[in-house]
Assembly symmetry: C2
Homo-oligomer: 135 residues x 2
């Protein structure tokens, strides 16, 4: 696979990282994401890493780079779905995901992006609300 798919959800973009990242794939992801932020006027980028068993310094730097690039394009980046073991390893290795916000799952990530971008209408909150309504 040469590209990681980018999905549009409202004014957020969602990326689910499932494959081993290498230099070229990381660069094409950064290119694609910045282009899509621009084209789709996205306010947020959600990066799901629930499939990753290891976050090393390469992945950490890539996430920080994406967050920095998105930031100058006026979009916030939230990493979601981090496994507990990954969080432990990150802290033990002293890796900080600089400039990267984290949230438990996609819905909470969307809520965080909305609060970071200062909008009142809680898109993700509505999602939860709707889910509860039907029960």
């Amino acid at each position: 696979m040469d590209r990681i798919p980018i999905l549009k959800l409202g004014d957020c973009l969602l990326v689910s990282i499932q494959v081993d990242m290498h230099d070229r794939l990381a660069i094409s992801l950064q290119d694609d994401l910045t282009e899509r932020i621009n084209k789709d006027r996205a306010r947020g980028v959600l990066i799901d890493i629930s499939a990753l068993e290891i976050v090393d310094s390469f992945i950490g730097r890539m996430l920080s780079n994406i967050a920095a690039m998105a930031r100058v394009l006026d979009a916030r980046t939230v990493v979601v779905g981090m496994r507990p073991a990954v969080a432990i390893t990150l802290v033990e290795l002293g890796l900080s995901l600089e400039g990267v916000a984290t949230a438990l799952n996609v819905e909470r990530g969307m809520e965080l992006i909305l609060s970071l971008t200062g909008r009142k209408r809680l898109l993700a909150g509505e999602l939860n609300h709707n889910a509860r309504r039907k029960e």
Copy 2:
């Protein structure tokens, strides 16, 4: 990677298929999805195949199986993000994705699930609406 991550969006589940499927992975995806439909009381399953360059009879059968399993658990399945070339090949090969609805992208897929499940409140419509509001 041993598992494909399943993301929850409101009362839909989203799966992005990015890796080559093999028997064991397909079975574990079916197991995980049925379990999550049950646990999260999901009404819809969105399967993004925008990363797939080929949909052969194996993938086609897997998608049909997932749709059939979801259906008996009262959830609808929509395949989104099919590449034009994949659509052409499917028709040329005479493969029909039996029981599987398709939509252009995730947002339209969510709209379709809402209309299939007969709910009036358009969740995905709200997503679009919010995206337009801010422009």
